[in-house]
């Protein structure tokens, strides 16, 4: 492993490590289940209704769980001076940002997606729908993390900037949610192809991958001045 | 039959835009006064 890759891996794994150890991962997954548990209280326990709504509800709950975890993405590092250090490594800062985002994805988002089948069980989702829903989430979630990272980096210098992060990131989530939920619905209606939806979600993720690291790096550099 | 909606629309327009206009002009004149006071204070200091 070369030096630069070692730096990338160290930043990524440290973020994962801290996320696990500080309980962020467990909290996020618990949040997902709490939200899912509250839904039937609001909508009524009728299984048919819940089943019909399940893909959309799961997407919305996933997005909200993700949004609540965004605040800690860069803020701890900003406050304790770690970001200062990470600007002074031989790795391009955009790559440092990607390492952190990857760590966040592996530590927080992947467990959330893995929890979705179980959460779907509570909503009586048809098992046949799950593979498509999970595929859609895997295609779309990188965009959610990357775009959410823009919000988190812009609000990084703001104390208790959690709500601000959510407000900034929410408009970026609209397209992903629209196509993600559409893919989840298409899975069961036989004859509706899922491929194009997955393609659009993957395209949104790819476009975010091209844009977000630069925007995030610029925002963080600006906040560190 | 639609009068109430039409009046409400134009009323809301007047209130929102009028409010923004009043607030903007108030803030402008306040900033002007403060800059004026600051510059007057600086001139005074130079005289002494």
């Amino acid at each position: 492993m070369s030096g630069l890759m070692r730096i990338f891996a160290a930043i990524c794994s440290q973020h994962m490590h801290l996320s696990w150890r500080s309980g962020q991962t467990m909290l996020a997954v618990s949040f997902l289940f709490i939200a899912i548990t509250l839904l039937p209280f609001g909508l009524g326990p009728e299984l048919k209704l819940l089943r019909a709504l399940a893909p959309g509800l799961l997407w919305v709950v996933l997005a909200i769980s993700l949004l609540t975890g965004l605040e800690r993405l860069f803020q701890a590092d900003y406050e304790d001076g770690t970001l200062d250090r990470l600007l002074l490594v031989p790795l391009a800062f955009e790559a440092v940002v990607l390492a952190k985002l990857l760590g966040h994805y592996l530590a927080l988002v992947l467990p959330l997606i893995l929890a979705v089948p179980l959460a779907g069980l509570l909503l009586n989702i048809e098992a046949a729908r799950l593979p498509v829903l999970l595929a859609a989430m895997l295609c779309g979630s990188p965009a959610l993390v990357l775009l959410g990272g823009i919000g988190a980096s812009l609000a990084v210098s703001v104390r208790r900037g959690g709500l601000l992060t959510v407000l900034i990131a929410m408009p970026f989530y609209v397209p992903v949610l629209i196509f993600g939920a559409a893919a989840g619905r298409a899975g069961l209606e036989t004859g509706v192809a899922v491929g194009p939806y997955l393609g659009i979600l993957a395209a949104l993720s790819a476009a975010s991958l091209l844009l977000a690291p630069f925007a995030i790096a610029a925002a963080l550099r600006s906040a560190l001045r | 039959m639609y009068d109430i909606y039409i009046y409400a629309s134009y009323g809301v327009t007047a209130v929102l835009l009028g409010g923004l206009i009043i607030v903007s002009f108030r803030q402008l004149s306040k900033a002007r006064r403060q800059v004026f006071a600051l510059e007057a204070g600086e001139l005074k200091k130079e005289d002494e």
């Binding site: 812009l154 407000l167 929410m170 408009p171 397209p175 | 039409i6 134009y10 402008l28 900033a31």
Partner: protein
């Protein structure tokens, strides 16, 4: 031509020169705004009732121009931010910050009047119509932008963060528009938005265009007023003795 434009823009980069220009333009601009709006309202008053929508069509003359200004306002903020961030024109941040509340108010106006129009037309205050929905998302974009300016204490840092958001957000607007349009047709394939009329009769079109022009001039006048205020606030912040920033 371009060179001349560049020279002019460089000349007014100096805030003092800008303030001198603004003082001269300010009153005529406001007079023009009031004049055009008054004439527009006069024309609107004499518009005949629509055979389909009756008198409620009169709401269109505020709703549609307000929706135009909500998009124009965000484009204005985007261009000002690009000017500030890439060409380092110091007035860009000022213009973007000044225009944000103006654009947000026009967006809110488009939402409220759209809702007031929808009630007699659709029988409900809110429909998840493609246009209303994307204007609602645009309103959230405005709110986030304004909140970011307010949340960051240090003005230059706030300016940089806000301009990054303005640029990234601007890229997002057509994507949201496209996906919301698509989403809407998916769910209501038959319904055509009633706010989007295929062709307007001249009786309606000219008053609408005049109201649009009036709103545009009003937008510019309000933005100019707020820009002067922002420049003065900056001056206060720079001049005030250290440790006690002026409370504004």
């Amino acid at each position: 031509m371009l060179k001349a434009l560049e020279n002019i823009s460089a000349f007014y980069a100096n805030p003092t020169r800008f303030m001198a220009l603004a003082r001269q333009v300010h009153r005529p601009l406001w007079a023009l705004a009031i004049g055009v709006l008054a004439y527009g309202l006069y024309r609107v008053a004499y518009v005949p009732a629509d055979y389909q929508q009756g008198d409620s069509v009169r709401i269109m003359f505020v709703h549609v121009p307000a929706a135009w200004m909500s998009l124009f306002g965000y484009s204005f903020i985007f261009i000002a931010s690009v000017t500030a961030l890439i060409f380092r024109h110091p007035l860009g941040h000022v213009a973007a910050r000044a225009a944000a509340p103006v654009g947000a108010v026009f967006t809110l106006l488009a939402l409220i009047t759209g809702s007031l129009w929808g009630q007699p037309m659709w029988g409900t205050w809110w429909v998840w119509d493609a246009r209303l929905t994307s204007v609602l998302v645009l309103f959230f974009i405005y709110l986030g932008y304004i909140a970011l300016w307010q949340a960051i204490d240090e003005p230059t840092r706030a300016a940089r963060a806000a301009s990054i958001l303005a640029i990234v957000g601007f890229i997002n607007v057509p994507i949201v528009k496209f996906s919301v349009d698509w989403w809407n047709t998916l769910h209501q394939p038959a319904s055509v938005s009633r706010l989007a009329r295929p062709a307007l009769h001249a009786d309606f079109l000219y008053p609408l265009l005049i109201m649009g022009a009036g709103f545009l001039v009003l937008f510019l006048a309000l933005t100019l007023t707020r820009m002067q205020m922002e420049v003065l606030r900056q001056r206060l912040r720079a001049r005030a003795p250290k440790g006690e920033p002026p409370h504004v």
